[in-house]
């Protein structure tokens, strides 16, 4: 999945991150509307929408007859449930790629690069024993605080700054950040993971022996659009929705 997204983002590697985020958002919206078209019963939805329209019109025409209006309104409520039932299957199918895409975008576009201006904090959770002695010094980047050890919960935390986008501390097997081009995954943790975890949390790297997991707090990234500060998820939701609506018009998808 990482490779697929790297490939999709290749044309945007030398552009600001927002470009890649907009591209994937637009593509996702379009793909999702097409998946919706394929997996939904378009004929049934179309018929149902006509039926609902006629019931609404009927209510307007027979306003002087409360019993007819009530009957039509009840029918409209039932139609809504049927409509939701028609949506259920495509929505469930779309949810799976949605989660994967969201995880990829979170990994690539939600954090500021690791550099001297953005101090971050990392916590190492050890499996059973905190190694004795000094932690040493990182190979890339700098520690900017002493290491705090919480013996009871087998945790060690420190603040750091990266260097050229990376923080590498081989002594505890940490490699955080990213040196790749725009849109690369920014690694912000590490854990022992299987396929599902790798799919859902692509921002995690691998851990060394004895370490349960590593978590870091890297500054969140915002995008300035039309004067507002947007998080990556808002950008994704808004622009994938716009793309989906346009796709529905162009490909005549009944939603």
């Amino acid at each position: 999945m990482n490779t697929l997204f790297d490939l999709l983002l290749k044309p945007f590697q030398s552009h600001p991150p927002l470009w890649g985020l907009l591209w994937i958002s637009a593509l996702s919206g379009l793909m999702m509307i097409l998946v919706f078209k394929k997996t939904s019963n378009q004929q049934a939805i179309s018929a149902l929408r006509r039926k609902m329209g006629s019931r609404a019109l009927g209510m307007l025409l027979f306003l002087e007859s409360p019993s007819t209006v009530l009957k039509l309104a009840f029918g409209l409520i039932i139609d809504n449930f049927i409509y939701l039932w028609h949506l259920l299957k495509p929505m469930l199918i779309i949810t799976i790629p949605f989660i994967v895409i969201a995880a990829q975008l979170d990994a690539r576009y939600s954090r500021e690069p690791l550099d001297a201006g953005n101090p971050s904090t990392a916590t190492v959770y050890w499996e059973s024993l905190i190694p004795s002695g000094e932690m040493g010094t990182p190979e890339q980047g700098f520690l900017i605080s002493p290491v705090v050890t919480i013996t009871d919960s087998l945790e060690q935390s420190f603040s750091f700054v990266g260097d050229e986008g990376l923080f590498v501390f081989d002594g505890i097997g940490i490699r955080l950040g990213s040196r790749g081009p725009s849109g690369s995954i920014v690694v912000r943790g590490a854990e022992k993971s299987g396929i599902i975890q790798a799919l859902l949390r692509p921002w995690n790297g691998s851990v060394k022996e004895g370490v349960l997991e590593v978590r870091s707090h890297i500054q969140e990234k915002h995008y300035i659009i039309l004067g507002g500060r947007w998080g990556w998820f808002t950008v994704f939701l808004v622009f994938s929705s716009i793309s989906a609506i346009l796709g529905a018009v162009v490909f005549k998808v009944k939603v």
């Binding site: 904090t121 605080s145 290491v147 705090v148 935390s157």
Partner: protein, 649 residues
């Protein structure tokens, strides 16, 4: 792209077309000049001269050689809110209504901050304990009068005022104006800066001067201290309970460091280290309404006792809970460009130093952060400056000279106990301001001018004058309950036998019948009483030094004849002599034993004295300097430079 850039680009084409269609690129009334005004609070002309001579301010000297240098007449009293209001309105206190940091309501005798007020909503919708505001309410600027920039904005001259004093909340949005509020901007608790100090040794901290809260905390054996951080009062809930968030502080005594966990963010700091700005979210109405704020931690000590300082909780410039800029996106743009910054009006935590929370090193590290942030803001603003007026305000000099005057004043009672390492602090600050002057001078060309000015100068504060104690000793006030002498707001007074009282830093009031709550002095007797007070105060002598602590007692109706005074105005202003100032106890209406005492507070420099003792400074790039300039002249000078009518003269 920032919003302002986007908007600029969006309007560029139509604006250019509009300009071409009238056959001229210049809007009517503009001179086409640019002007950078650097407002440096408390820059003393004698010190500037001395530092220029010593080569510590080469850029300022260069600016002076291009144009000129002179003393700048300050306000009376020479307090920053008064002086900057004079600058802004071009008028004296009776016009703008600011006479002191503190005013009092004569009907209730309750003191209030002179710059701004928060008013509750006129009506609310009550649902159970919920109080939803329907109308009214808000923050109001108490400064009156017309600011000089209104003329510029009317003529289409772009105006950028950054950290402008006495301008909270900022003016209404104008397409030509960018404003960021400075002095007078509160923290989210509504105070002028209230720190929080967590410690398991609370007894070690004196509780004499306020300025913050000391919160006792304890470790229950797991190395974790649970610390409650209080935010603003929640006006949406009955009784206005305080909103708060919990912070967990994990202590590692071996590494002498702590990890601070708040929500899903964490930071690790060692002893004598500052955290970066941390975001606080105070829930007002569950997830529907949240007050956003920022604060910085400083770990003073881990062992033997935990001593963790938290800065006043500042309004978050990226998500302001109260209006601090106009347009509202301007503070966000600045934070995006220059990083988060102190938004409160008095960022240097002088109270923490006075109260013993900070030592000199701690204080200077905090003051250095403030100055670095201010410089980042300055670089950001300077790099975006294109046209019109740019005003930028520096506060560091004022507050740091207040705290470190003792380091260069051998006559200060604290000179002997101040570490000689700090003897160069003030010179260093002036040098750093000089660097900013140099950066501004890089923009000088034949259509750009620079004005460097200050609101007042400085003098030593060696001896404290207990004005109220003096009044009581001389029979102008009557103490009925001596045990309450040290309580605030005249708790010990018998008002029926009191003719005058002091409040604020320079204010002296007559207990006037019909105006004051328990007033006894009739209007016919008032003049005589004021004359007697003038004679008595101006002839008082300090038995230790033989000097007169009061140089001038100004009677307001003589100082500003023809002006109608608002009810909160003092009747007289005490102009203290060089070396003297009102004691802290005087400012809030208490009556300590003794009339004149040594000032043992690190706050060792002052300007709340006779205005002729502490004029401000004026350095400009223009050859034709005004003669005997005062702060009230500056607005019209700026308008003259930037508008066509007078700018060509």
């Amino acid at each position: 792209m920032k919003r302002r850039d986007f908007l600029k680009k969006a309007i560029l084409t139509p604006a250019a077309l509009a300009a071409l269609s009238v056959g001229c690129g210049k809007t009517t009334g503009r001179s086409g000049k640019r002007l950078i005004v650097l407002g440096v609070d408390g820059m003393d002309p004698s010190l500037v001269e001395s530092f220029m001579e010593r080569g510590l301010m080469p850029n300022t000297k260069r600016l002076m050689e291009m144009g000129g240098f002179s003393r700048l007449g300050t306000s009376n009293p020479p307090q920053s809110p008064v002086a900057w209001s004079n600058f802004i309105t071009g008028a004296p206190p009776p016009v703008h209504g600011i006479f002191d940091f503190i005013h009092r309501d004569p009907a209730t005798m309750a003191p209030f901050l002179s710059i701004s007020e928060v008013s509750p909503p006129d009506s609310t919708l009550n649902i159970g304990k919920l109080r939803l505001p329907l109308s009214g309410g808000g923050v109001n600027l108490l400064r009156r009068g017309t600011p000089f920039w209104d003329t510029l904005l009317d003529k289409g001259v772009p105006v950028t005022m950054v950290k402008l004093p006495v301008d909270f909340p900022p003016p209404a949005e104008n397409k030509h104006g960018l404003f960021l509020s400075g002095l007078g901007t509160p923290d989210v608790r509504g105070s002028q800066g209230s720190f929080t100090f967590f410690t398991d040794d609370p007894r070690s901290i004196s509780d004499s001067t306020g300025g913050g809260v000391v919160i006792p905390v304890r470790d229950y054996g797991d190395g974790c201290y649970k610390c409650r951080v209080d935010g603003p009062a929640n006006s949406l809930i009955e009784g206005n309970p305080t909103m708060s968030v919990e912070v967990k502080v994990w202590v590692d005594k071996d590494s002498r460091a702590v990890r601070i966990d708040m929500g899903d963010s964490s930071v690790v700091i060692g002893e004598k280290q500052w955290s970066p700005w941390m975001h606080f979210s105070f829930p007002a109405l569950g997830p529907f309404s949240t007050v956003h704020a920022i604060g910085r931690f400083y770990l003073k000590e881990v062992t033997p006792k935990l001593k963790l300082y938290l800065s006043p909780i500042n309004i978050d410039p990226e998500n302001p809970a109260l209006p601090i800029s106009s347009p509202d996106w301007y503070s966000r743009d600045l934070a995006e460009d220059a990083g988060l910054f102190y938004t409160q009006g008095f960022p240097e935590d002088t109270k923490a130093l006075s109260r013993g929370i900070f030592d000199d090193d701690d204080y200077l590290s905090q003051a250095n952060i403030v100055l670095e942030e201010r410089m980042s803001l300055f670089h950001s603003v300077l790099s975006n400056y294109k046209e019109g007026l740019l005003f930028f305000y520096f506060t560091s000099l004022d507050l740091n000279v207040h705290m470190f005057y003792r380091s260069m004043d051998p006559a200060s009672p604290l000179y002997g106990t101040t570490d000689p390492r700090f003897s160069g602090v003030i010179a260093d600050l002036y040098s750093r301001i000089d660097i900013a002057v140099g950066e501004a001078m890089e923009l000088l060309d034949d259509r750009t001018e620079i004005i460097l000015l200050s609101d007042h100068g400085f003098a030593p504060f060696r001896r404290s004058f207990n004005l109220n104690s003096f009044l009581a000793a001389e029979g102008f006030a009557d103490i009925s309950s001596p045990y309450d002498r040290n309580k605030d707001m005249f708790a010990c007074l018998d008002w029926s036998k009191t003719g005058a009282y002091g409040l604020g830093l320079n204010g002296l009031y007559i207990n006037q019948a019909g105006r004051e709550k328990d007033g006894v002095v009739s209007l016919t007797d008032k003049r005589n009483l004021m004359e007697n007070l003038k004679t008595s105060l101006e002839s008082a002598v300090d038995p230790l030094t033989g000097e007169k602590p009061v140089k001038n007692l100004f009677i307001l109706e003589d100082l500003y004849p023809g002006f109608e005074m608002p009810p909160w105005a003092p009747d007289m202003l005490v102009g203290y002599s060089h070396g003297y100032r009102a004691s802290w106890e005087t400012t809030l209406g208490s009556f300590p034993e003794g009339v004149i005492t040594d000032n043992m507070d690190p706050w060792s420099g002052t300007h709340c004295i006779s205005p002729d003792v502490c004029p401000g400074s004026l350095v400009t790039s223009m050859r034709n300097m005004p003669i005997n300039p005062t702060l009230t002249d500056m607005g019209s000078l700026i308008n003259a430079i930037l508008t066509e009518e007078d700018g060509d003269q």
